[in-house]
């Protein structure tokens, strides 16, 4: 089985901390990942308009690139890329008419019919690596860390691309438990972060972001765990605004799930690029005096 890795634009710029920690972890887990040599933007958001096919061309082109490499699967880290690619893939599998229209338009490429499977890294870790193997590789259990997994929308909705059967998602909980953390479930973990409304309707996005962050800490979590740079923007980068407007009672540390994976695998803080997180996130980890990585964390 050949697996291609699709990074996504933001992971190469503002969210290097999501990618670098994942790449180091994949190497430590001896996972043979190959970044697609050619790829474009995933489309960033799935177009819902029935007659708007042009916005599916970008994700389909990426899937064709994976198919050209002979890959069975393409793995993503970013929830948004996962969602956009997975939905475009379903469209190409299920809708004969739209598939033909898109394939005809992209007449310089091979026809695509949904040959490749789109997989989020959390599913990959559970299904391909396996929790038992992952557990055996943990060198720095995240003991004493109370973490709230935040799914947001795009890992779970719509249900036909949900990374788990709809209902009570547990994959994030299982993942963090394998890393040795104490997992705090909270009601707002599947609320939308506000998404692109942060541009068009910032008040609405800020309200929901505050609800999520307060929901996490009121449930006893010390930090939120994320898998999407847009969620990270709304829930972390915008915290300053929320504090200033008295919408939030305290700063809340946030991590990408891959950063915690790298720490737990004993890879140290350097690969995690904590310089791109809020300072408080690295400080929380440091305060836990986790063996062999406390000094490296703040680098």
């Amino acid at each position: 089985m050949k697996i291609s890795y699709y990074p996504g634009c933001t992971l190469k710029t503002k969210a290097k901390n999501l990618e670098d920690a994942a790449l180091a972890s994949m190497a430590a887990l001896e996972v043979d990942f190959e970044e697609l040599p050619r790829w474009n933007c995933c489309g960033a958001v799935h177009s819902l308009a029935d007659d708007d096919l042009i916005h599916h061309v970008a994700p389909v082109r990426d899937l064709i690139r994976a198919m050209e490499r002979g890959s069975d699967k393409v793995v993503t880290l970013c929830s948004m890329c996962y969602n956009t690619l997975a939905r475009a893939n379903l469209l190409m599998r299920d809708d004969e008419v739209k598939r033909k229209t898109i394939n005809d338009f992209m007449d310089e490429e091979k026809d695509y019919h949904g040959e490749v499977e789109v997989v989020h890294f959390l599913n990959f870790l559970r299904d391909e690596v396996g929790w038992d193997k992952l557990r055996s590789k943990i060198k720095v259990p995240l003991e004493g860390l109370k973490l709230a997994p935040y799914y947001g929308c795009t890992l779970l909705r719509p249900k036909n691309v949900s990374i788990e059967p709809p209902g009570h998602p547990k994959i994030f909980r299982e993942f963090l438990e394998v890393l040795g953390a104490r997992v705090i479930d909270f009601a707002a973990s599947t609320l939308c972060c506000g998404s692109y409304q942060i541009l068009a309707n910032p008040e609405a996005a800020e309200t929901v972001a505050a609800t999520i962050l307060e929901g996490g800490i009121n449930s006893g979590a010390e930090a939120l765990v994320l898998s999407c740079p847009l969620c990270e923007f709304n829930l972390s980068k915008k915290q300053g605004d929320l504090l200033q407007k008295n919408m939030l009672s305290q700063e809340v540390p946030t991590y990408y799930f891959t950063q915690l994976l790298a720490i737990a695998l004993g890879l140290g803080g350097e690969v995690c690029r904590f310089d791109l997180n809020d300072k408080i996130s690295a400080e929380l980890l440091k305060s836990k005096s986790l063996p062999s990585c406390d000094q490296a964390i703040l680098t």
Partner: protein, 267 residues
Amino acid sequence: MSDAQTAPAKSTPAQQVATGDRAILPEGAKTIPIYVMGKKYEVPETLTIMKAMEFAGFKFLRGCGCRGGICGACPTVYRKEGDYKLHFGLACQTVVEPNMYLAQIPFYPANRAGYSLDEIEPTAEAIFALYPELFRCVACNNCTKACPMGVQVLDYISALKQGDIAKAAKLSFDCIQCGLCASRCMGELPQYHIAQLARRIYGKYIQPHADHLAKRVAEIESGKYDEILGKLTEMSKDELAKLYKEREREPDLAPLGTWMPQDTQYL
């Protein structure tokens, strides 16, 4: 004198052929129909689009530059009879085919952002700020299909969105700024201007600088070569010819690094 003029036209007129990019036809040589702005012209079959149009009587005041396929002044869009596809080429490089429907696109409007290269932050974010329309790309690939130089335009636009200025600079290296990419863009991007900015930033801030070049420039600026250059410019032709003939010259096939001239004062 051209082949066309010396060819024995009278004896075997049926076998006359036009050759090369010459607009003077041997008598009876074959011509083909092309359509310029919808009007039909019979032109010699071996001409480039540019020469064929001149043969047909057009005179280029603009839309023609180097005639060598590198200045980007003569982009041409054409269709062929019975083919839905648009084709693109440089008029000075593309040979006419029967029943081509041609249009010259010597200029295409595309906004160029103002910036000072000395003051610019050499980051992808600086490019995003100057050209926010970059993110209107829908990856339709029309740009790449339109490029007469075979540049992977979508790939360099994607590289920039991924923050990889060096990759964008390298992928766009063959761009001749003809503007056909911008003419076909669904997102209305001025790709070639964005690529030019990427190459400028790459050249000034990212590409490793050659120390020996900086050293040589400093020597030139210090006046090291002024005296000899002054002498050379005042020499007569005979003196120059003599100097040239007597110059020290590395023997052919001398193993690398084994030869040194006697006079090393300018090395």
